[in-house]
């Protein structure tokens, strides 16, 4: 009993100490910011560090940004700036995401936010970024990002525009396909992608027999695969799926259910992850997007980032490429406007558009008249496609930027450029 009391005593003291140290750390960070002689430009980002994609994106950004600074940084109106990337965890949740964004804007005084991933934190932060006129170049698949109400946020993920080029390619690879069944997660992304992809498929003359939604955290796909198989469609498509093992489990379940038709997906599968859960036969013939680093002769940028990444971490991860377009867009936008005033930059690129290079090739901002937004707000990019052959991605072909935008215009309507 006495020992217990002494434990309680020590514990109380130690927990109090930790608390005090924590408060101290907070205060020292917030109050004592030493003035720097070199001009730095603070850029913020929030990433879901509880998920693989968040951590990988962080790792990639920590490769690119220092390299960019070493190469001379950013020059605006003759003044050179190095980039100070401030990165917080948003836990993929609205509450933590909003707090992180508020901290970036008010505490760290950033004027630019890049590369957020999750729709929930982005949408939760929107109210603040818009009212404080902070420019954001974000990933995230939610159509709410490119809503006409927003003026300072630019969707730099290709997710929303990747479907028409995919189906252009799908018609080349599976010319005789007449029917398709969709398997998609029951969340914001899944539902948005599924309804969009339905529109695209119908436009390409393929009938959508059924859209099957599964809960976001499903791992057992057997019975839903049996259901999908029962429609005996020519194609299965996976709108809004996440690139990790869950995607592999779906392919495995479809194969086990006896489906042998064509399969397509807009995502870039993480091959080492999906081959870990699904056999080669199950993956055979899947048409999917390919990262610019993996194509037969990659662009110099792609080659470079891959080399740098490998040098720092040893092992290459394709996931790290998916969400970093925002960074390249940000650099290009500042260069084009030659200004650090977010309002000016935003107005300029929203009215004049922007073209920039990403590892996959060329990308550009497009208008979304179909969503009622006539400002340049969304991103179209050059796409590369591959089919899985014997457990490996085999290059099928590219859809150049022009063709991708035309396909989008054809399906969704309106003038995008």
């Amino acid at each position: 009993m006495k020992r217990k009391k002494s434990i309680i005593f020590l514990g109380t003291i130690s927990s109090l100490l930790i608390l005090i140290i924590g408060i101290f750390a907070f205060l020292s960070r917030s109050i004592a910011q030493p003035p720097k002689e070199v001009k730095t430009l603070k850029v913020g980002s929030t990433l879901p560090l509880n998920l693989g994609m968040g951590v990988e994106t962080k790792k990639m950004l920590e490769v690119i940004v220092p390299k960019f600074n070493e190469a001379g940084g950013l020059t605006v109106q003759g003044q050179r700036y190095t980039i100070d990337l401030i990165l917080y965890d948003d836990k993929y949740s609205a509450e933590a995401g909003r707090a992180a964004v508020e901290r970036l804007i008010y505490q760290d005084k950033v004027k630019f936010i890049i590369c957020q991933i999750g729709s929930a934190p982005i949408v939760a932060g929107l109210a603040t970024t818009e009212s404080e006129k902070v420019m954001s170049f974000v990933g995230g698949a939610s159509p709410k990002i490119v809503s006409p109400k927003n003026r300072y946020i630019f969707g730099t993920s290709t997710t929303r525009t990747s479907i028409p080029p995919l189906w252009t390619m799908a018609k080349r690879v599976f010319p005789s396909a007449k029917t398709v069944v969709f398997l998609s997660p029951d969340d914001e992304t899944g539902r948005a992608r599924a309804s969009e992809e339905t529109q695209v498929a119908e436009a390409f003359g393929v009938k959508v027999l059924q859209v099957l939604h599964y809960p976001r955290d499903t791992v057992d796909f057997s019975s839903i695969a049996a259901k999908a198989k029962s429609f005996n469609s020519d194609l299965i498509d996976y709108p809004g799926a996440v690139a990790g093992t869950q995607f592999g489990l779906q392919l495995k379940a479809m194969y086990a259910a006896g489906f042998r038709g064509g399969q397509i997906s807009a995502i870039t599968p993480q091959m080492d992850e999906i081959t870990a859960v699904a056999s080669h036969e199950a993956l055979e013939g899947l048409l999917c997007t390919m990262q610019g680093t993996e194509v037969p002769d990659p662009y110099p940028l792609a080659h470079e980032v891959k080399q740098d990444y490998m040098k720092k971490y040893g092992k290459w991860s394709e996931t790290s490429l998916t969400w970093i377009h925002g960074w390249f867009a940000f650099v290009q936008a500042i260069k084009k406007a030659d200004s650090l005033d977010p309002e000016g930059v935003a107005n300029l690129i929203a009215t004049k558009g922007l073209e920039w290079g990403i590892p996959n090739g060329k990308a550009m901002l497009v208008k979304r008249p179909d969503l009622g937004n006539n400002r340049y707000c969304d991103t179209c990019a050059e796409m590369a496609y591959s089919q899985i052959k014997n457990g490996k991605l085999a290059f099928v072909g590219r859809i150049p930027l022009d063709e991708a935008v035309s396909a989008c215009e054809k399906v969704f309507g309106g003038k995008w450029r």
């Binding site: 509880n50 693989g52 951590v55 791992v219 029962s230 990790g244 992850e273």
Partner: protein
């Protein structure tokens, strides 16, 4: 629905259902004996899967040996957690719940930081398809069912026939009386925690080849297990078995019949049970008297 398809869905429901049964029985055991509402239970399941993966893939140990070894690893870890944390606050349901939540946060993020972001999978030991009456049944699912049934029988033996099991049941009934009879209650609590969590670990190892291994796989499983507890009741292992199978079957047939609406079906079933049998199918409604 053809009979072949029916068999297929049945086997499928049994397989996932039995996994729920394993994990939920562990949860019930920990709750009943050690009086801990264990929010970290899902994390022990995750750790079991990672341990099996490490043994199988990295150290190239035989699958069966590695699930047994990883069970012991998880059991040891759980016992250590019990001694270090829960022992000091034993008997207090709320404090234990809060501490286990802290544990869950630490394990989940710890796994992400230390095991890396790459999601893992294990190649299955049982490949191939068994044809029974026209239905193509994957051998791995049948193996999972058999393994789980064997483990549940083992658990039954442990609880009903061994000295430890008797001690656990005595402690569950009345801690003070058990202590008076000379049972080392601390030991029994720690062992109950170890056995309960190792069941989760075992389940993680067993289904690792079927599904994938990720640092946050525990959350979804934990929520499913709470549904099992609602259906089956909190007191009895039998409730855990029935609850697990009901949930497994509902999801298996529900997905086929209703697709995405099957979650709603599941929740309506749970709602009906809540209204008419608030303590669960095999639980009693304990009013404070």
């Amino acid at each position: 629905m053809t009979s072949a398809l029916f068999t297929q869905l049945l086997v499928n429901g049994l397989a996932t259902g039995m996994v729920y049964v394993l994990i939920a029985s562990g949860l019930i055991l920990v709750l009943g004996v050690a009086r801990i509402f264990n929010f970290a239970h899902g994390e022990f399941y995750m750790l079991g899967a990672y341990a099996t993966f490490a043994l199988c893939q990295v150290l190239q140990v035989n699958f069966f040996i590695s699930i047994i070894l990883s069970m012991f690893v998880v059991a040891l870890l759980a016992a250590i957690c019990y001694r270090l944390i829960f022992h000091h606050i034993r008997g207090n349901l709320l404090l234990c719940a809060a501490a286990s939540m802290g544990l869950s946060m630490m394990f989940e993020r710890g796994a992400l930081v230390s095991f890396g972001t790459q999601e893992r999978g294990l190649p299955s030991v049982f490949t191939g398809v068994m044809a029974i009456g026209g239905a193509a049944l994957p051998v791995e699912k049948i193996a999972v069912i058999l393994l789980c049934v064997a483990i549940m029988l083992g658990l039954y033996y442990l609880l009903m026939r061994t000295k430890l099991g008797k001690a656990m049941r005595a402690v569950k009934l009345d801690t003070e009386v058990a202590a008076l009879q000379g049972i080392n209650t601390t030991m029994v609590y720690a062992l109950a925690m170890a056995v309960g969590c190792s069941l989760a670990g075992l389940a993680g190892g067993i289904i690792a080849p079927l599904f994938s291994i990720t640092p946050n796989m525990g959350h979804a499983m934990l929520l499913k297990c709470f549904m099992v507890l609602i259906v089956g009741g909190l007191e009895s292992m039998l409730g855990g078995v029935v609850g697990g199978l009901v949930i497994g079957m509902t999801l298996s047939f529900g997905y086929y019949i209703l697709g995405g609406l099957s979650e709603i079906l599941l929740f309506s079933i749970i709602g009906v049970i809540l209204v008419f049998k608030p303590g669960g199918l095999f639980g009693e409604v304990v009013e404070d008297v």
